[in-house]
């Protein structure tokens, strides 16, 4: 068999296998049992300080202004909706978005870690999507790393005086993409390739996740911009009270 044939056979096998397990077809999160126990524990511990910070951050936001609960609930609900929609992508497989950019921009990245964890727990327990053993790793990629990148990019764009909607778009989409890069890296760390080590296997995982995710990242940017436009129109007061819009 030459290279091309081998690739074809591999592709066919992949199709056959995934056809057999379509009901459990998940997108994105690291599946139950696919990380060795040590990594599960380590990623879980890494998440703890962020979750603690998130808890105090939310508490502070709510005690300073109880009414911001409205927007917080909407940011959380946005993650709920967005991460439940599996979208077909250019590579012929489906994946879903994270939705964490909105919360990160509005409330800061720490608060989102709590919101993200709620969604991950829901999906892991009810949907067999992601997993309880891998929740630490998934929490780190989706609810910590992504939001922090979103937040950083948004702040950077503000410094550079980029148009606000463009900044939101960039922040949400790059944060979404970064989540998947972290997932790929986590998988690679736990499953280094025999020949090339962690780097080679990271490239392989990235090749699986990244092309699927790029159009979805753009989509997430668009949706985040849309909901911000809506909020700016109808919830000026609330956005001012959480410090997103400046008092005029």
């Amino acid at each position: 068999m030459n290279r091309k044939q081998r690739k074809l056979v591999a592709l066919a096998a992949a199709l056959a296998i995934s056809l057999g397990i379509i009901p459990a077809a998940n997108a994105m999160h690291i599946m139950e049992g696919y990380l060795p126990p040590v990594y599960c524990v380590v990623w879980g511990v890494v998440c703890l300080p962020f979750l603690a910070a998130g808890f105090f951050s939310i508490k502070k936001t709510l005690t300073s202004n109880r009414k911001s609960l409205t927007i917080l609930a909407m940011a959380g609900a946005f993650i709920f909706v967005i991460s439940s929609l599996k979208i077909p992508s250019v590579t012929g497989s489906c994946s879903h978005m994270t939705g964490t950019g909105l919360g990160a921009i509005l409330f800061g990245p720490a608060s989102v870690s709590i919101l993200g964890l709620i969604v991950l727990l829901f999906q892991a327990i009810l949907l067999a999507h992601g997993g309880l053993t891998t929740i630490g790793a998934n929490c780190f990629s989706m609810a910590v790393a992504g939001p922090f990148v979103s937040f950083g990019i948004y702040k950077l764009c503000q410094k550079l005086k980029v148009n606000r909607l463009a900044a939101i778009f960039l922040a949400a989409s790059i944060g979404d993409l970064f989540t998947y890069c972290v997932t790929a890296f986590q998988m690679a760390l736990a499953h280094p390739s025999e020949t090339g080590g962690v780097a080679a296997s990271a490239v392989k995982f990235l090749a699986v996740f990244a092309p699927t995710q790029i159009p979805l990242a753009i989509l997430e940017g668009i949706l985040t911009v849309l909901i911000i436009i809506g909020l700016e129109n109808y919830a000026k007061k609330e956005l001012k009270s959480i410090g997103f819009l400046k008092e005029v």
Binding site: L15, P88, C94, I222, I229
Partner: protein, 106 residues
């Protein structure tokens, strides 16, 4: 709403729908599995000896894989909860503006 924004919103909505649906029509015959399955493919490729050591709690409890229909039920539930919360608050916010009570709390 400012006029320029209205145009932007419409363009963005159309773009969003296009991004989501174009692959479905252009890639005929593609099977659109999850990228996680592709992920586990790669695991078995780079690390052939690795065995998954845990199964999802729900699958243990029902003693098998979650049926596809039930899975879509749970996904709908998740979407529904989210949309419900957003729509509820958005409705109240819109009404508040309409009644000219923007300076009041919800």
């Amino acid at each position: 709403m400012k006029k320029s924004r209205k145009g932007l919103v419409i363009i963005l909505l159309i773009a969003a729908v296009c991004i989501a649906l174009i692959p479905l029509f252009t890639l005929k015959g593609a099977e659109f599995g999850g990228s996680d399955d592709a992920g586990s493919e790669v695991v078995s490729e780079v690390d052939p000896t690795y065995e998954s050591w845990a199964t999802p709690l729900l699958e243990v409890m029902i003693g098998g894989e979650l049926p596809g229909e039930v899975e879509s039920l749970f996904f709908c539930l998740q979407t529904g909860i989210g949309v419900g919360i957003i729509a509820f608050f958005m409705g109240r916010l819109v009404e508040r503006k309409k009644l000219g009570k923007e300076d009041q709390d919800l």
